[in-house]
């Protein structure tokens, strides 16, 4: 059962609204240069307005312009505050339980009861049954069953013990039985969750390299527009004409990329938030963006590609035995077999409408032993056995039977397909063979096809022999596989791919995975894994779901493409804004340039005001896109590019023409100008 996270939306909304005004503080604004430019322009114009520097004839027009200029800033603040509010709510619901925790700190031989916030790295605490583990750490002594549902949503308890791969514990989880001694690995405020919370808090968030580069472009564009607008006044000075300063400010604010500028940090925060919703903790925003660049995915076969248990997939009869006979004996032989293989044989046979053979007599169940390597049942003197080919051969020899070439042939064929043959015999007679296969997860092949479409290569890593590995690789549709892999193979493989210029992602949980996790460009550790694996990785999956990596790649790509889409949209908008504002300004100098007003806007004033209103409202309109991310589809990059260009490029050119015209009609109908 997944834990449902309750987020009070209206509360976040109200909080964000309040924040949008608080964030007018220049200290906060300076982090967002484009919006800061709007703030400065608005403040400057307001000062001039108040001191009566503008023509009183235009009082209402000027007042409305100022009003909308300020709203541009407020809306941008609101977008950021809203994204942050949602992200914080998400994160804090994860760590609710972490607050107000107490700990039994163990010093020398005495324990003291302290607040968890006082713990530092290296402290040792004792946690007994019924208590909450106060902080992230590593078990150094003892074994306990722990309920980790607070973090993972999974209610089944897990075993945590010192040494080995199950030594790491997370703060906020509950010890159900026994006791453990835990060494603190991260002090309060430094745990993975704390790092994640920082990534969704605008104030503390470090900009990623990509965000910095994009910000520079936005600043560059703003400077170019500043240049274009600032030189406009002296250029028309040539005609002994001049513009109202407020109109120039309005043009400047319309042209600079306020849409993306206002939404940029919201996009980054929302990306982290989406990751958190998938129960993944990232240690940096950069790691998430790198996930979008991944070109090679190393995936463990067991658990990720296959269920990890061999299961019955087909029955083969030998000549002279009917299929129904084989099935009925197969069911009987496995009825008491509680192993996944045994259960799968019964399930498969029953799905073929077979029933257990009805033998009279007392049943003696023979369970698998290392000695005979067979299991089955004795009913009277009828002895039914199933097992590997060689073991069954020995068994039938006891009855003077023999494993003939036909059966041997079937077995070899099954082995060649990478599956395991299980022979069923009754006394000296062979009935047939069950094919046991490592079952590939349903839907995984389609997922890999999607990844291939996006240009991502999937490589399966397995300890199996090359034959088995090849068969599963073919069935799952991975691009490549490595058989008989050791942890060293993994790290060599990663280095090899990186040398060829690929970015590699992998998942891991064991201590011996740690070096490879550190080497990989994106290393995803399972929360159930060891502390060293988690420390080496740059992301942790709280669900410990092996297929999570695929979702992370999507989050990373979506994060970047949302930025690209909205930047394109923002710049494309300028075309229409020019068509609205420039003619309005041109008629001031040359009345005959009214012919340039191809949008047929009501008046120069309404044209300018409409453009500014559109510019402010579009930020609000696009907040959902920023928070949700631009729609993502698994497709080739070329196709994704054309699609985004059509939506955000072409759409970005057309939308403001329509929007500005509509606003113009509304404000002139209302008589606002």
């Amino acid at each position: 059962m997944k834990k449902t996270i309750e987020i009070n939306n209206s509360k976040i909304f109200k909080e964000a609204l309040k924040e949008s005004f608080i964030r007018l503080n220049p200290k906060h604004q300076i982090k967002n240069p484009v919006i800061f430019a709007v703030t400065l322009s608005s403040a400057f114009s307001t000062a001039l307005f108040i001191t009566g520097h503008f023509d009183s004839v235009d009082f209402w027009f000027n007042l409305q312009l100022l009003f909308w200029l300020w709203f541009t800033v407020i809306f941008a603040n609101f977008a950021e505050a809203l994204a942050e509010g949602r992200g914080k709510a998400q994160a804090s619901s994860l760590r609710q339980t972490q607050s107000n925790l107490k700990a039994n700190r163990y010093i020398g031989n005495v324990t003291e009861y302290v607040d968890a916030s006082l713990l530092v790295k290296g402290d040792v605490v004792i946690v007994k049954a019924g208590e909450l583990i106060p902080i992230d750490g590593e078990v150094i002594e003892g074994v306990a069953s722990v309920n980790e549902s607070a973090i993972t949503g999974e209610s089944a308890p897990v075993i945590r013990e010192s040494g080995g791969d199950r030594s790491s514990v997370t703060g906020g989880t509950t010890v159900l039985s026994d006791w453990i001694k835990v060494r603190v690995t991260a002090a309060k405020g430094e745990s993975f969750l704390d790092k994640m919370i920082m990534l969704v808090e605008g104030a503390k968030r470090q900009k990623t390299p990509n965000e910095i580069a994009l910000s520079l472009i936005l600043i560059g564009f703003s400077l170019i527009f500043l240049l274009a607008v600032a030189t406009l006044q002296p250029i028309v000075g040539y005609f002994h004409s001049s513009f109202s300063l407020l109109v120039l400010v309005a043009l400047f604010v319309c042209l600079i990329p306020t849409t993306i500028g206002g939404l940029l940090s919201a996009i980054g925060i929302a990306g982290m938030d989406r990751l958190l919703r998938k129960n993944v903790i990232a240690t940096s925003g950069k790691a998430v963006e790198t996930a979008g660049d991944i070109s090679v995915l190393l995936l463990d076969k067991t658990g990720t590609i296959t269920f990890g248990n061999r299961m019955a997939s087909e029955f083969f009869t030998v000549s002279g035995v009917s299929k129904s006979k084989l099935l009925s004996y197969a069911i009987l032989s496995s009825q008491a077999d509680e192993t996944p293989e045994g259960r799968s044989i019964v399930a498969l046979a029953e799905s073929m409408d077979a029933k257990s053979v009805d033998l009279i007599g007392e049943k003696t169940w023979i369970s698998f032993s290392a000695d005979t390597r067979l299991s089955g049942v004795n009913v009277g003197d009828i002895n039914i056995r199933k097992g590997a080919m060689d073991s069954v051969a020995k068994f039938v020899e006891l009855y003077d039977g023999m494993l003939d070439t036909e059966c041997r042939g079937i077995c070899e064929r099954i082995a060649k397909e990478g599956a395991t043959p299980l022979v069923i015999a009754v006394n000296g007679r062979i009935l047939g063979v069950v094919m046991l296969k490592d079952i590939v997860k349903p839907g995984i092949k389609a997922k890999f096809a999607e990844l291939r479409l996006m240009g991502i290569k999937t490589v399966m890593i397995t300890g199996d022999n090359p034959l088995t590995a090849a068969a599963i690789a073919a069935e799952a549709g991975v691009d490549d596989f490595v058989a008989e892999a050791t942890p060293e193979t993994k790290i060599r493989l990663i280095q090899q791919y990186q040398k060829e210029g690929h970015l590699v992602a992998m998942t891991g949980d064991g201590t011996n995975d740690a070096p490879a996790l550190a080497q990989a460009d994106v290393g995803l550790a399972m929360n159930s894994g060891t502390q060293s694996a988690k420390e080496a990785a740059n992301m942790i999956d709280l669900d410990s779901s092996p297929t999570k990596l695929l979702e992370i790649v999507e989050v990373g790509k979506q994060l970047l493409s949302t930025r690209g889409a909205l930047t394109t949209f923002s710049i494309a908008n300028d075309v229409a804004k020019y068509f609205a504002v420039i003619p309005a300004m041109a008629v001031i100098v040359f009345p005959s340039l009214a012919v340039l007003n191809i949008m047929d806007l009501a008046s120069p004033k309404s044209a300018i005001l409409s453009a500014v209103i559109f510019n402010a409202l579009i930020i609000v309109a696009l907040i959902p896109v920023a928070l949700r991310g631009a729609a993502f589809k698994a497709q080739s990059e070329e196709a994704a590019l054309r699609r985004n260009l059509a939506i955000y490029g072409l759409g970005g050119i057309i939308t403001p023409f329509v929007g500005i015209k509509l606003i113009d009609m509304v404000i002139s109908a209302l008589g606002l100008v």
Binding site: N210, G220, I235
Partner: protein, 565 residues
Amino acid sequence: MEVLDIVLFALFAFTVVFFGSFIGNYLYKIYDGKKTFLDPIISPIENMFFRISGINTEKSQSFKEYTLSMMVFNIFGIFILFIILFFQSSFLFNPQNFPNLSWHLALNTAISFVTNTNWQSYGGESTMSYFSQMVGLSIHNFLSAATGAAIAVALMRGLTGRGIGNFYVDMTKTTLRLLLPLSIIYAIFLLSQGVIQNLSSYIDVTTIEGVKQTLAMGPVASQEAIKMLGTNGGGFFNANSAHPFENPNELTNFVQIFSIFLIPIALLFAYGKFAGNRREGIAILASMALLFALTLGGTYYAESQGNSMLTSLGVANGPSMEGKEVRFSLGASSLFATVTTAASCGAVNSMHDSYSPLAGGVLMLQMMVGEVIFGGVGAGFYGMMIYALLSMFMIGLMVGKTPMYLGKKIEAYEIKAVIIALLLPSAAILGFSAIAANCADGLAGLNNAGPHGLSEILYAYTSAAGNNGSAFAGLTANTPFYNVTLAIAMFIGRFGVIIPMIAIAASMSNKKTYALSSGSVKSDNMTFTIFLAVTVLILGALTFLPALTFTAIAEHVLMLSGKLF
């Protein structure tokens, strides 16, 4: 549209691309140190030169070393040329006894020729001695083109993961192995067509109408060749390529247009070779060609419409021929004008001042976007790379990837350089225009009133910052104000772009190259070509539309409503 004009355009496109691809292969060979047929003659000269000057030909320079070499070389060049012009009367070969140039004209001209601009605030035949023309100016026609090519090659190397190379080595190779041999052949061809080459005094003749006329003489052919090949454009005579001694017939006219685009196109083919994928170069070429088709179409259309006012008066009908040589057709003149402003050549065979307002606007826009529609030798390539990097940044983001070009990440450092290279020339154009339009010194030079006068100012600074050198020519620019401000604009327009480009080249050359996977967006296909062209147009339009509104567009609208200037 005249059929012959279409044939001319098609023939031009075909020949220039055809020959460009050959020279491109050759260029790649000389820059990448491969064997060429000229080795037996030139290698010994080159090696001797490198030995004497102690240049290490093997070691690639760092950003700082490269920039220092390039700046020292160019500033030294400006200094020497200034001395030659400022003390012209003290040197030989001055049969007309021309006096020394004023300090501001000497400064302007020195910077102009060293920056490959070849803006001329003077009339050649009435100002410059033969010594100044040959030793002073001609040398820089070679060296400024070679500088451009060297920077382009450094950038090609950096983008494709090689060391950026040595500035002096590439300069020497470009001059000795490309510009000199081509110029010699070219000059001989021009001589055969009637272009003059002598050191005589000017000749006074009496025309059949009985009027006395002075025929200016000089070593024209040798300077004419490199003037076109090196996209310099500084004419021997004031009338430039409209003068019969510079450009005697239709064939020379065609070859002149052809030779402006030849090396810029060849460099794109060389780039494809460097990238190991011809299509990388062709994609950029296609993008430039697309933009060029638009601008040529625009100019030709505007010119063929003629002036509605003349038509209504019954004075003239059909295309506008004012300011054009009747020897050349409308097509040949429009083509020349579009080519010379697309490439930063600036040679002219017609008066751009007389072009219709919209055509004048198109010519300006070509220069405003930074001379990237083929552009000057080398300058067109590295200028277009500004837009290519911006385009790939946006493309990368749109598909959800860290932006890369040729497998190398485009990061904050490169973006900073790109923005600087984009911003500085624009600031020079708009800033100086704004100043000139508002001060007595600036307004004093105007020949026309109204928006057309403003166009003349805007055109002058655009031409200077774009290192083009052509002029609307209505402007009297030989004043301290214009000479100095235009010189600054030329300097910013040249080095304000070159230095950021070297920075990009050096930083990219040290970056890891990532493998392109099957689904990756590529920079060698149609989508990229169109994206790049649109980026150039949108950025150019967004930056300069306000200024163009009050010049070319205003003038056009006013002309339609019956008001001329």
